[in-house]
Amino acid sequence: MSANLSAIFYLISGILFILALRGLSSPETSRQGNFFGILGMVIAITVTFLSIGNFSSGFIYVLIFLLIGGLIGTFIAYKIPMTAMPELVAGFHSLVGLAAVFVAISAFLNPEAFNLGSPGNIKLGSLIEMSIGAVVGAITFSGSIIAFLKLRGIMSGSPITFRGQHLLNALILISIIVLTYLLCSTQSSNLFWILLAVSFLIGFLLIVPIGGADMPVVISMLNSYSGWAAAGIGFTLENSALIITGALVGSSGAILSYIMCKGMNRSFFNVILGGFGATEQSFSKDNEKKPVKSGNAEDAAFLMKNASSVIIVPGYGMAVAQAQHALREMVDTLKKNDIKVTYAIHPVAGRMPGHMNVLLAEANVPYDEVFELEEINNDFANADVAFVIGANDVTNPVAKTDPQSPIYGMPVLDVEKCKSVLFVKRSLSPGYAGIDNELFYRDNTLMLFADAKKMTEDIIKNL
């Protein structure tokens, strides 16, 4: 197949990828969008085979490795529980990063295969492009591994900070630039390996100081990086499908990071520099003396039975307790009693963008009952009961009233405007931000101290 013809097919697959993302603008068109994505991938792979046209014995090995990866991927996709989506996505990011690094290594060792010159005499532009691809790929890989370990709970979610951290990171970043420059002027393979090692290290150091609840930002940021890495390799290979896709994924991740930062009213750099949540642990003890009304499942069931509208506010605690199915059952029972039930989702609820929506969808909650913060926030004033399950900081009225608070200015759900608030929580401990929630001590709040799933099941029995 001629190079021009294959370039046109790569363009077509790039367009199909754009349509794949476009499909996600509504759930009805999304499945079709996913189909376009698959089609684009099939075209890109087929065209690559045809354009090489060398069906020698190597071909069978390509198929074998493709099949091995495909089987593993298929197995994971069907086995993974929906609550594990954040770590799955982090894991997948690391694979994209590593694949980009491997392709860059391959191109560096055997540039003839890619028409980039000969070893030790690679075209300057190509060498710069492949270095960028390799560096960003390596950062994506090691950063995603850390994110994966933190999300999986293998590594503590609390931020790890040490003195001189920012200085060290800055020095490493400068050394990456210097190494890239030296690599381009000497073409030394030793420098190439050092550059890769340093990039792996910085990816690791960048993510280590970031705490668990900032994971929505981290995971979107790594999503973005994996795109830029792919684009860097795309420039090296002069392949428009890769360039288009890399740019799409890169900007997609960047927008998600922006939305997540805005959901927390924090600047991107504030999150990246890390350490949030490590400093604010010293909340005053006299709060514990404040009166708290606590109730049991019976009280909660009574309140909800007599309500005419209920708003559910899910958070990360619901995911941890796997309470989404029990929750849906409870809502079904309420609806049978002609009570209007809706769900309110804060942008940073959970550990990744859209985390709560997927869990509710898994529990068969129709998506047109689920609302975003801006859509539903005015409804709290007219609702009878707010049922907060596993959320905390995103409901804290302090964000609106106290300029001293670390979460001041963060958009929050106005649950306190409901006639009564039911708060399912295991204890009075503060949320991730380390600040006390004023809501616990309000007159119209009833605390339900229990595991989210167990409490929901008990309420169902009492309805």
Binding site: I68, G69, L88, V89, F92, I105, S226, A247
Partner: protein
């Protein structure tokens, strides 16, 4: 003076960033998780580079250092392609509208 082909690739790249910007803002927030998994899958189109690398060896030596990295990259990207598209499909199947019962 002739324009370097790099400039054309750069143009594609920058225009695609703009397309990405507008397309992604139109994605409904409830589908942000599937958005992440599908972008994962499509960024694995990097497999085309891996295939070129894997097939670069000649018939006497299919496996040299360069092609081995290519083969490994093929597997990594394939995990992502299959895993990414299938898990997205699985999630999207769950998004259902309210049934008109009662």
């Amino acid at each position: 003076m002739e324009i370097d082909p790099f400039i054309f690739r750069l143009s594609i790249f920058i225009l695609s960033i703009f397309i990405g910007y507008y397309v992604v803002w139109s994605v409904t927030p409830s589908l942000h998780t599937p958005l992440m998994s599908v972008t994962n899958a499509i960024s694995s189109v990097i497999i085309v580079g891996a295939i070129i690398a894997g097939l670069a060896g000649n018939s006497e030596s299919i496996f040299n250092t360069s092609s081995i990295f290519g083969f490994l990259a093929i597997s990594l990207a394939a995990i992502n392609i299959f895993g990414g598209f299938l898990v997205t499909q699985r999630m999207l199947q769950m998004y259902k509208k309210k049934k008109k019962d009662k």
